[in-house]
């Protein structure tokens, strides 16, 4: 059995430090999701509007955000804000801004998709039953939309957590950065530490994301 560098993990506070780094990434994704969901719902409703100008503007926003790699967006906000406005924002703030803008676009598209998937006869039947438009939304449309949306929004959380690993690239100290520091510090005593430490980071992400995506899958089956 070769030395896999697993002992490094149990040295000192290394495990705690790794978890602390992971928390930085998870915290940024949770904050971004929490802001994106309400904004995305608003965007989704706005996108079903028939006004051509609103349609065009929201469409361009959505397409641009979705076609650009998230790392490019991070670079634009992180490096671009300094040259464009002369302000220096921290990597954490830049990440929250980018992931909120991205999450809002994704959520908006999900909401729009869920809204237009409700067949027209649902509205017509409600009107025939003399429900007012407000009651139609509260009792008929929203409950059906929410059922389609919840599994998809839960999936968005896992995508967000996976994507926040990118914040390493704009210098935020998160789990990968901590991993690099630990490996570097133990270079002499444990040359194979990279294996054990990176495997642990990989498993940490898996342990967080897997239950969440299982939950989404289960709800999708139950309500689908």
């Amino acid at each position: 059995m070769p030395d896999l560098g697993l002992d490094v993990l149990f040295k000192g506070k290394n495990m705690i430090r790794l978890l602390g780094g992971l928390w930085v990434a998870v915290k940024i994704s949770l904050i971004s999701v929490a802001i994106s969901i309400p904004l995305g719902i608003l965007l989704g409703i706005v996108m079903t509007s028939k006004n051509p100008i609103i349609k065009a503007v929201t469409r361009v926003y959505l397409e641009f955000i979705r076609i650009m790699p998230q790392l490019v967006l991070l670079f634009i906000v992180f490096f671009g804000s300094t040259s464009a406005f002369g302000i220096n924002i921290s990597g954490e703030l830049a990440s929250v801004i980018v992931f909120t803008v991205w999450g809002t676009a994704e959520m908006g598209d999900l909401v729009r998709g869920a809204l237009i998937s409700i067949p027209k006869h649902q509205y017509e039947s409600s009107a025939a039953l003399a429900l007012t438009p407000a009651k139609t939304y509260i009792y008929v449309i929203i409950p059906q939309t929410v059922r389609r949306l919840i599994p998809l929004s839960i999936n968005l959380i896992t995508r967000m957590i996976k994507t926040t690993s990118l914040i390493l690239m704009i210098g935020v100290v998160e789990v990968l950065k901590v991993a690099q520091q630990i490996i570097e510090a133990n270079r002499m005593s444990s040359p194979n530490a990279a294996f054990g430490v990176y495997l642990t980071v990989l498993l940490m992400y898996f342990i967080i994301c897997w239950p969440i995506s299982m939950l989404a899958k289960r709800l999708e089956k139950k309500w689908g």
Partner: protein, 219 residues
């Protein structure tokens, strides 16, 4: 905007974009092969292999590409598997993409009602003929939207390659920003080049999707 700077460093970006595209397509081609194999294993419920494929799909889908690349590039050499940055990029993309492609193909296959297979068999077709002439054409058209979305997703994911010291578009942009402080120009070129790579595929995808929408039976 300093246009002289842009013209001067355009070739650098071209080179980087070619690298992104080359590694991207190699990774995606491998991902498609892995995806087809996994989808077949899942669809025909082949014992043992099915378990392995499910575990692979869950691990690959629930971990970020960046971490997968770090593991492949820095951890695997420690257990005696030497790896170059290019191989790491292709392998990482194939590992991630394989599971996404598998899900796209599998859901295409499973969307075809069993009655299609039963009818084909009762008309005297062999199982392989039924697959070739009845199931596959329909399954392919069902999986096209997910397939195109995956290709775009995977090409976007290539942006993390600079983490394993591949000199791609992100690396070039960051380098120029650090060297010359020409942030606006560097970022402008970065966005333009990603649009050149991604926009045609996105447009092609939506055309293809529209043309195939009515290919399925009974829709």
């Amino acid at each position: 905007m300093n246009w002289d700077f842009i013209w001067k460093y355009l070739p650098l970006y071209e080179k980087a974009a070619l690298l992104t595209v080359r590694i991207g397509w190699a990774g995606i081609a491998l991902a498609i092969i892995i995806g087809i194999l996994c989808a077949i294993v899942l669809y025909f419920r082949i014992a043992v292999l099915r378990r392995i494929v499910s575990v692979y799909i869950e691990i690959s889908r629930n971990t970020p590409l960046l971490i997968q690349l770090f593991f492949i590039y820095y951890a695997l050499p420690k257990v005696g598997i030497p790896i170059t940055p290019e191989v790491c990029g292709v392998a990482g993309l194939a590992f991630l993409g394989g599971s996404y492609m598998a899900e796209a193909f599998r859901s295409g296959l499973e969307a075809i009602e069993p009655i299609q297979m039963e009818s084909a068999l009762s008309l005297g077709l062999e199982k392989s003929q039924a697959l070739r002439y009845v199931i596959m054409p329909q399954a392919v058209s069902v999986s096209v939207p997910a397939f195109v979305a995956n290709v775009i997703f995977l090409l976007k994911e290539t942006s993390v390659f600079s983490a394993v010291s591949l000199m791609d578009l992100m690396f070039t942009a960051k380098d120029l920003i650090g060297l010359y402080y020409k942030t606006t120009e560097s970022l402008f070129l970065l966005v333009v080049f990603y649009l050149i790579i991604l926009l045609p595929i996105s447009i092609l995808g939506s055309i293809l999707e529209r043309r195939l929408r009515h290919a399925g039976f009974g829709s």
